[in-house]
Amino acid sequence: MKDNATTAPPLLEIRDLHVHFPVGNKLFARNRRLLRAVSGINLSLGHGECLSIVGESGCGKSTTALAVMGLQEPTSGDILVDGQSIIGDNAPGRMDRARIAQMVFQDPYASLNPRQTVHRSLAAPLRLHGTPNSEIDDRVADILKKVGLLPEHGARFPHEFSGGQRQRIGIARALILGPRILMLDEPVSALDVSVRAQIINLLLDLQEDLSLSFVMISHDLGVVEHMSDRVAVMYFGQIVELGRWDAIFARPTHPYTRKLIATIPDPDTVLHPDRDRRAGKAPEPPAGYRFCPEDIGRPDVYSVPAESALIEIGPGHFVRCATA
């Protein structure tokens, strides 16, 4: 399904992305250090694919998303859309970029301007991009229907909606310009459990209807399991495991991935404590290699990470290792 990467450039490609933040005292250089939020990410996203980036808070997954959105200047590396770089000197302007990728934010309570009606929040970007006035009302009503709201809802202010409804409005805003990539930054983690499934189903329906490609950022593997084609597991600035979702969930190999998956509540484990379907025997690293980083739990985000590489252990299944 996604094996056409050799013939055409992928929709989105991230090449050796680094994002470093200077931290510490501005005046005294001796106290200044670099926080390496993202150190050397390589990822690609195919047409119509859903790629999930998972990892704990502070692992750099949101920074990666912001860099793709143009909200965070990368320190080095390249981001390409259809083989064309979107950062640096040849970068497209904000207006062109807006039609490439849009973002759905984590907190539905902070992602809508409280002083604008829903209609205005959705109509303003259309007007900015030159949609004729006669079409704007129809486009807004249309997108509201697509996300499961009523056109009448446009006259309301954000505080008149529930969290799930607001997230629908956030999705409508992200889709109003017809972008090709949707960046989902923890789209359901701020929502009530009962509403999560509705939003996930909505996103899956929209992906099919509008032939969208998703990059989903999440720390919740339960959500990822339902939506992703491929999963990238990030650990403090680096990808430690990458593969199709079934490979990641069936044969988690890197110790960190195994640890993450072990945190998913599993009813079987509760009912039969002696039969944990996920634990199994810890797999061995490929011959001649050791897993990297081995020491999970004490990340050092200030120094240059040790030499390591992603080693292919199955078709499209990579694990970060260093030579033993």
């Binding site: 143009g70 904000r94 970029r97 902070a110 929040s121 303003a124 900015l128 008149e160």
Partner: protein
Amino acid sequence: MRRFNLNLWLGGVLTLIVIVGAVFAPWLTSLDPVFDANLMYAEEPPSGQFWFGTDEQGRDVYTRVLYGARISLTVGIVSQIINSVIGLSLGISAAYWGGWWDDLVNGLTNVMLAIPSLIFALAIMAILGPGLPSLLIALGLTNWSWTCRIARSSTLSLKGQGYVQAASTLGYSDIRIMWTQLLPNMVGPILVISTLGIGAAVLAEAALSFLGLGIRPPFPSWGAMLTGARELIVIAPWAAVFPGLAIFVTVLGFNLLGDGLRDYLDPHMRTRQQ
């Protein structure tokens, strides 16, 4: 239904009284504030003929208070508009763009806060000379630091919000983001600080005129009237009490109005129009 907003109503009524007095002064009194001086009637106490009494030159205090409102309101509102424009553009842009521009604006704001604004205004007035235009410039350039601070801190807390980031990814220019996403969401605190600023400017005008650096004596400014009345405070207290009361009512009115408007403009209190 909206809850009754006492601040808004009281502030609105007091402000309206002052504005009506200023605008309709020629219709509310038949006398002239400067030329209708008559020493025959000097220092008359309040009566049916002179509602607020007369001053040492026999001018009607009521008439002068009415015309004084024109000067006080002009100075208060115009200088606060200058202050708001300076403070908002510096504060929002500094916080949104950051970097050296933020450092520069911050430094400037701290310098402005360290200099007592009345002393600074005095210095500007001493250079420009007395008169209404120099008063507007002096008070308009010296009182923007609090507006700037509030605009800056509001922007810092707002710019991380999803809707501001979304506006950027939707293609909005920086100026458009500041204008449509940031500015409307700080209206509450800015309105409050602005109405307080109008009150402060009215007081500063009175102080400068009292010191002889604002409006020159024959013209009716409340501050200048207080200067004139200072020597007769025992013999003719009404000449000082009524301009003082006018300052009090104006400043109180604007402050209450600011508080009331903040509640009124809060979108969480806005109900849907059916």
